[in-house]
Point group: C2
Chain length 427, copies 2
């Protein structure tokens, strides 16, 4: 249990379930005997006797009816007004790293708007050589790039500052998604307008606005604007969904989701930040003494066990099981994830499904044995900067308990002997 | 035009559209003047004045109504019977590499069946130490992996053996998709059953069957079965769709789609291939002399320009444009893609959006200038084995014209001065 390497090296995988059965831990392994008596495999079933449904009637397919619970969900009391809402990704039911657009979280401040490509315009103005207005088609004519990035709302896990409040990974950590974006570097469009007029770029900013009623204006330092920001028009290969900013949104890798302005309308080059509503009354972190941390754009390294979790209990007996979760960092690659079954006393290093990629979700697995007893499950992410995800206790010591945003603490699920799990805190 | 490096190095990108405008090629670039007169950017629009739609009513989201044409399509005359059908991916309208499940091609031989996880069983029998039957939950308890792979039907581009027949990349090349799969290596399950009884594995095979009425049985050499084949239950993070084999399908990287058996029911270890219906009367390649190539499992390197193409015409005037397409190889990584505008006389090397990945789609771009004249657009893929995608002429010389399957020839689109494109052959 204290091992720092994957716990199921290939040598032990050969007799994985059989081994468990042989030691009498009660794995419901279906063997030859069961095969003989199980009509689901020995008898011809109804679905093998007729013609199944075609899919011609559903040219754009949806999940099968049996997966009807794998959907976005909101928490009605979470937003004070009736205008805005948050719809969380069902991360407890997903695997791998890509989030399908259909169930990818969305947060809006004044509704999701329907904006036709033909009506779309993007203005670049302010301290530029030539103010420009681009149509959708103009943007498509510039060299484009593809990148997979996570987008996390700054308020993700925000309710947990006040204690273990929301009983499910979807609600505690589901304001995140991870998609393959296609878009034009913002740098390309800024250089098209010309940055000579801006002079020294090191102290310049851009102000970004959306076309919806909230406009959701945010200030972005020029250094980031010229680095890896994308003016994106596709996600996972297809057009952005309405609720993700169709037809064009900003992609700001590693930085808080609110800056990923949807229905992108205007980018103004300025000699300082605007200090807009969205970066003063919101999206700053109120500390114990009442002062606020501002410009906290980068999402620190974080992780969560997605299964088992309150919405994804263990439904089998003791024996082999996979503990799975997600890790990410706004500062680069995830290099390691540890998992604890005893509330952080001892740790095992999880297996990363693939080497971590910059500012993208990393899937981790701990292939392990469950003894049937209770567990206090935690995960702890590390990124390439050497940063280690902190405990909630450590985070509260620094930030106090007035915050809403940027809670990247270690999450604990109390898994009970009956396989159910609950959101708890350990001290 | 004869250059073998990307044609738009960074130095020339700075004044990309402006440069074009300055040379008088007629790019509809919206500049400051246009900004002053364009009410879509200067006036407050209706969508910025009210509350847009929420998405609470659509917990599983669909594409916005304006993208209603980005759907799977079939070609009614393509399949002789009314039982089976093919629904093609709209690759002409997609970008990046990931295919959303909702519009990912599907081919079935007797309909798509609705099979509950609770009713799911997978038997492993034949020359194994212990025949086993796994439930869905059993499979989830083994160590799992994540990989992005393309799946291409052996009949993709099959109609084009007879000439330039289908007018659109969706129909000529749309029997392909590319998803991130989560699953358990088939090797793990075979070793769980025990392969000692099979003796020397080098001449052994597995026979794979689906649970639908067609059963779609296929023989697979043991070497491949123990290599990279996955017993997969998720695609792009979520459960497989019904039409993609929910709840479990086989993933056979780089090999023809028919072997990716859906609704996977049984895997039998055998001392030879079965020579089943699906690998004799179908999925063999009839040559000029009437004999057949069989066991043509690997999908050779191939590519196609997806835009512009017949369903994705050029809608702007001369000047900067992006020519985009997809390349893939069942034998490993794509290392290079060339694009020709003159029917194969001269070639330019395209930019790969990312380094090629093994048996996964690679997106390529040629950032170029359109002179407003006609083009005979082609793309030519190369893979890490050194293989070069052949012309249709070269392929016909070797295979004759009786084939249906495994047509990986270079495709030609005739782009006309009005921007429309047509499927043609060049000689």
């Amino acid at each position: 249990m204290m091992s720092d390497k994957p716990t199921l090296p290939k040598a032990t995988r050969r007799t994985f379930l059989k081994g468990a059965a042989a030691t009498g831990t009660g794995v419901a392994l279906a063997g030859a005997a069961k095969a003989e008596g199980d009509p689901l495999i020995t008898e011809v079933q109804s679905w093998a006797q007729g013609l199944g449904d075609g899919v011609d009637a559903t040219p754009y397919g949806l999940p099968i009816q049996f997966e009807g619970d794998v959907v976005r969900r909101n928490v009605e009391w979470l937003t004070a007004d009736t205008i805005s809402s948050i719809n969380f990704t069902p991360i407890h039911a997903l695997d791998g790293t890509i989030t399908p657009q259909g169930c990818a979280f969305e947060r809006h401040h004044s509704g999701a708007i329907e904006l036709r490509k033909e009506d779309y315009r993007l203005m670049i103005n302010g301290m530029v050589d030539t103010p420009l207005v681009f149509s959708y088609e103009d943007i498509e004519r510039f060299p484009r790039e593809n990148h997979v990035y996570f987008c996390e709302c700054a308020a993700n896990t925000g309710m947990e500052w006040a204690g273990a409040q929301l009983n499910g990974a979807q609600f505690t950590h589901g304001m995140i998604h991870n998609m393959e974006y296609t878009g034009v570097p913002l740098r390309t469009l800024l250089e098209e307008a010309g940055l000579g007029a801006a002079g020294d770029l090191s102290d310049k900013w851009v102000y970004i606005e959306g076309a919806d009623a909230s406009s959701n204006g945010r200030s972005l330092p020029m250094e980031k604007a010229l680095d890896d920001v994308l003016v994106a028009f596709k996600a996972n290969g297809e057009a952005l969904r309405m609720e993700h900013g169709y037809p064009v949104r900003l992609v700001v890798p590693g930085w808080e989701g609110n800056m990923w302005v949807k229905w992108l309308r205007r980018i103004e080059v300025m000699d300082g930040p605007v200090e807009s509503r969205e970066e003063t009354s919101k999206y700053t972190d109120t500390l114990e003494d009442g002062t606020s941390r501002k410009w906290t754009w980068e999402m620190d390294a974080k992780s969560v066990v997605t299964s088992p979790s309150p919405q994804s209990p263990i439904t089998h007996g003791p024996g082999p099981m996979v503990i799975s979760g997600l890790a990410w960092s706004g500062r680069g690659r995830i290099t390691r994830v540890d998992v604890s079954k005893d509330g952080g006393k001892t740790w095992e290093t999880a297996r990363l499904a693939k080497p971590g990629e910059k500012m993208a979700l990393t899937r981790f697995y701990l292939d392990t044995e469950w003894d049937g007893g209770e567990m206090l499950l935690q995960s702890r992410a590390m990124d390439e900067t050497g940063y280690v995800q902190p405990t909630k206790e450590a985070l509260r010591e620094v930030r106090g308990e007035n915050s809403i945003y940027h809670n990247n603490c270690i999450q604990t699920w109390w898994v009970k002997p009956n396989g159910e799990a609950e959101n708890v805190e350990v001290s």
